[in-house]
Symmetry: C2
């Protein structure tokens, strides 16, 4: 674990800036995906559909009068688009108290169980088996300590070396601007994290993953987290556009449905965010928005 | 936990009898499902298919010369039948040692980590949304202690009171022949076990569940476990036959695919057998045979 400083540095102003950033990133990213919906020529009959649009639904977490519990979020979901079969972009900002069980496992929570957390999380499942699925999330957490975490990874059905290089290259550029040690460390962390031991398989072709990130310089750490989000929001649409007009076969689609089964296995068996969210009374609908729309275990 | 006696009573002869029973139950149950494949008239175009048949595939667990590690099993799977989209019946008999992590949690394993386990497990996913999915498993476990466990539950998409009564009635009759206290206790255990807290939903309409069952009379406990298996192998085909010739709609099918998503969520998030099997190096293909063939998270 990184040495994290006390939350005294994580002021209300910092919280507001982080929350506003996650919301702006959400707006920019949703726009980029909607632009793709307009631009695609629509293989496999998908041009017959209207261009997909995000629908937003807000939810609230039960609160108290003192404002130490509560908050909520907005789920932005596109379903049945020309390119995107299901794309979810959730932003939430919540306050609460960790249960006894979690207090020993979360930095700074043993001293005081209260927390504040804000973040963006997105998972995209395209119609086309030739367009990779992808995930990105970044978050800021405050207990008696404070830190950033996040990352992004790419899950193609048929890995393409050029896509993999482009995806990793974007994150490397974002990382290198802050510290040349970040990319190798966070890439390796991603490879270790997004792995299915029971299949002896990686979930996809990786990306970066970082957590409990606090260098003692909030502005630098926030700028890094912003750059991770920007890098993803730029490179993923670029990769989608390279493949979105290609026709696929029913065999390609079946391979995609099976690959999506592995995605479900990972998220429900291993993903800390999913399990943590469900166990701490998070919004089930928002948390499980990550699950693919059409899946096979033949 | 039931007070379990030492494994001295669980002789090699007992192990052989239990193993032989699980294999015979498998054969009888597979035959009952294949008879249904021959008998169905085939709604929604399924009569165009050949009647489904089970295919068997054996697997081995890495062993040692002393015979304290090893064993294996047989997966019997029917895919793409007229009635059964995917039906798996696994029988396995394995020997090994519990890891440090498990020794404190498994009765009798703290004293000696070696175990022997044999059992049958079946999960059936019909094509028709009007035919309930079902699960049954029974097993005998030997550490320095020994016990039986198992149960069965029914998961309809559209619960039918007559089916529910018939399914529960069959288990109640099986239980009452041994002890009138069994059915209420094991029904309640099933309701508690097959529950998805994050959805605040039951997995299905229940059945029975029992574990660490050792009354001190091996013959009685074995006879009870046999009766549980027989009850399921008789009542489930009866329920299937009541509904198998009914035509369903595409909306019914979509509801089934969503309901199956809940089944996946339960098995990967909560099912002890699944998580235990995957964490102890069990056969992944056999363990995840329980997952439905075609699933939606819209």
């Amino acid at each position: 674990m990184t040495d994290v400083t006390t939350a005294a540095e994580y002021s209300d102003a910092h919280k507001s800036r982080a929350k506003a950033w996650f919301e702006r990133l959400r707006d920019d990213f949703c726009k980029a995906l909607e632009d793709i919906e307009d631009a695609v020529t629509g293989p496999n009959g998908t041009s017959a559909r209207a261009p997909g649009r995000f629908e937003r639904k807000s939810w609230e977490r039960p609160g108290d009068a003192a404002g130490t519990m509560g908050g909520g979020g907005v789920m932005a979901v596109m379903r049945g688009g020309r390119v995107f079969e299901k794309a979810g972009v959730n932003v939430s900002t919540v306050m609460g108290e960790f249960s006894e069980e979690f207090r020993q496992r979360i930095p700074g929570a043993a001293e005081d169980p209260r927390f504040w957390a804000s973040g963006i999380s997105t998972v995209i499942h395209p119609n086309s088996p030739l367009v990779p699925a992808a995930h990105m999330n970044t978050r800021m957490i405050v207990t008696t300590q404070g830190w950033f975490g996040g990352g992004g990874d790419l899950t193609p059905v048929f890995p393409d070396a050029a896509d993999t290089d482009q995806f990793h290259g974007a994150f490397k550029t974002a990382c290198d601007a802050h510290d040349p040690a970040y990319y190798p460390k966070f890439k390796e962390w991603c490879d270790r994290y997004f792995f299915l031991p029971h299949r002896n398989e990686a979930r996809g072709v990786g990306g970066i993953f970082y957590d409990q990130h606090n260098t003692g310089d909030w502005d630098a750490d926030f700028a890094f987290t912003q750059d991770v989000g920007r890098a993803f929001a730029k490179v993923y649409p670029e990769i989608v556009r390279k493949h979105m007009n290609k026709t696929w076969t029913t065999d390609d689609r079946e391979a995609q449905r099976v690959k999506r089964g592995r995605y479900v296995e990972f998220n429900l068996l291993y993903d800390r965010g999913t399990i943590f969210g469900l166990q701490t009374g998070g919004n089930t609908e928002a948390i499980l928005m990550s699950l693919p729309p059409d899946v096979a275990w033949p």
